[in-house]
Amino acid sequence: MTTAVAPSTASGVAATSATPALRVQRRKRRETGAGWGFVAPFVVFFVAFLVVPVLWGLYLSFTGRTLTGAGSEVIGFANYAEALADADMWRSMGNTVWFTVLSTVPLVVVALVMAVLVNLGLPGQWLWRLSFFMPFLLASSVVSLFWVWMYNPQLGLVNSFTGIFGMEPVAWLQDPRYAMVGVVIATVWWTVGFNFLLYLAALQNIPEQQYEAAALDGAGPWRAFFSITLPQLTPTTVLIAILQILASLKVFDQIYQMTGGGPGGATRSTVEYIFETGFTGYRLGYSSAISYVFFALIVLVTIAQFAFSSRNGANS
């Protein structure tokens, strides 16, 4: 409204060039120039390497495009219809969700246990932090090399350890019954340190007075943990869980490198299926359609989480 009125007022008294409205307008124009100047470099990269591929992928998903460039005509929703009826796609979705369920719980709980214990203030703080956080600094390829070796059925440390308790040797990554569990254990080892640090930072922000007051009231350490520590950490727990679920749904690197999605597709995730239909099957259009089905799943999960966390008032 105001912007529509201001110019006419300004032109009405154009002769006295220094009316406030005109000055505001000029200033606004200068600000617009400066603002776009500042954001321009980011916007150029953003458009070139995010917006363009995302929109192009959306277009491709409606075509039968292959690597050779054949089949580039628009075929409507045929790819989506095929994807929704594709048992392999649903299996990869199932694997992805199963991986997310199996990994998220320990990644939150173990991180919390680590942080609470380290925060007790034992000597050697840097050593504890180093032990738990160091794996996070490793590339997925290093983690995969480590764990493929740990899980080696004949020579690996894991089987020789479980053997002490009289358990039969297990082909951790080659047996469809254990492969996903094997991948999840390696993943927890790899990334729990990140959540651990976030919890540790949150723990150190809980005011000491609350514990003092609770101690005066005769509350023991367990009581203090459940009635002070856990409630105070709720926002952190919600945030960690939300981010962890979104990160786990995008799993690819370590599974691809440890099992290649095997045995027999038992650990193949959705991102790996997208990758394989695109780069091994050369079906760009179809691969893009699966990408967008996957994207829709991520958006739905995000919206659900957002609704859940705002209802619980954990967004402080």
Binding site: V39, L120, F275, Y292
Partner: protein, 312 residues
Amino acid sequence: MSSQLLTAPPAPESPARTGRDARNARNARRARPKSGRPRLTPGGIAAIVVLLVLAVSWLVPFAWAVATSLKSEADAGSTTVSWIPAHGFTFDAYTKVLAEGNVLTWTFNSLFTSVVITVITLVISTLAAYAFSRIDFRGRKLLFVIVIGSIIIPPQVAIIPLFYEMLTLNLVDTYWGIILPQVIAPAMVFVLKKFFDQIPIELEEAARVDGAGRLRVFLTIVLPLSKSILAAVSIFVFIWSWNNFLWPFIITNDTALMTLPVGLQTVKSAFGVQYAQNMALAILAALPLIIVFLIFQRQIIKGIATTGLGGQ
């Protein structure tokens, strides 16, 4: 929407912090809240035992890899699983892996691409975040919503069209092909904007009255106040790009251009059953970042806690 997921960054450093203030802040940090020091009660002992078991479990895969890398191939492949090799420790595996030469090339590629990615990300994200925070330009709100909204897009969704875009631009198997798509970090723009929002505007207004332009104010007043957040963002972006696998894996076929994570993956099958060499390679690949961490431990932990939630 994702903005709700992010924690507020710390308040900017006050420009004139006295020595005593700094010392008080340090002391306050040292005397940080504890949920009760462990005493030698049964509960306290149990806590210590659990912590020790966890720490040992977390260190064992490292220790086992180091032990294996120091064995001869014969000992490493022996069916009697043992920490101490029958024929003594040796550096043979390291000598062989280094003589191949690829590890050093890959380390250089990783270092080069990660540094360039970090620098470009820092420059473009800081400029954009400052504009979003301070300059009232036309289209600002809409653009900010688009940029923040894009945090929700999984990069994997665009990876196939992105590859064909790079093919069209002739950037497959080049450093720029590896670097360019990795410099977009909307979450970091958000973290930086929140930080700039907290800097008192009076400092900038005074300088602008004195006739300083936007860029000059930004470079001489805002940036020096933002060292902590710039360090945090750099650390985060650097670790992330150093370890990034999927994109460099897709965009490089030429062994000479591979980054460390990608090269490691291709060599795994080539080495076959040479366990000691595999582990030597893994340790060599892990070392640079671990050394960096040991040197900058405090800053890295603080940086992760500050930017971590925004960056995943």
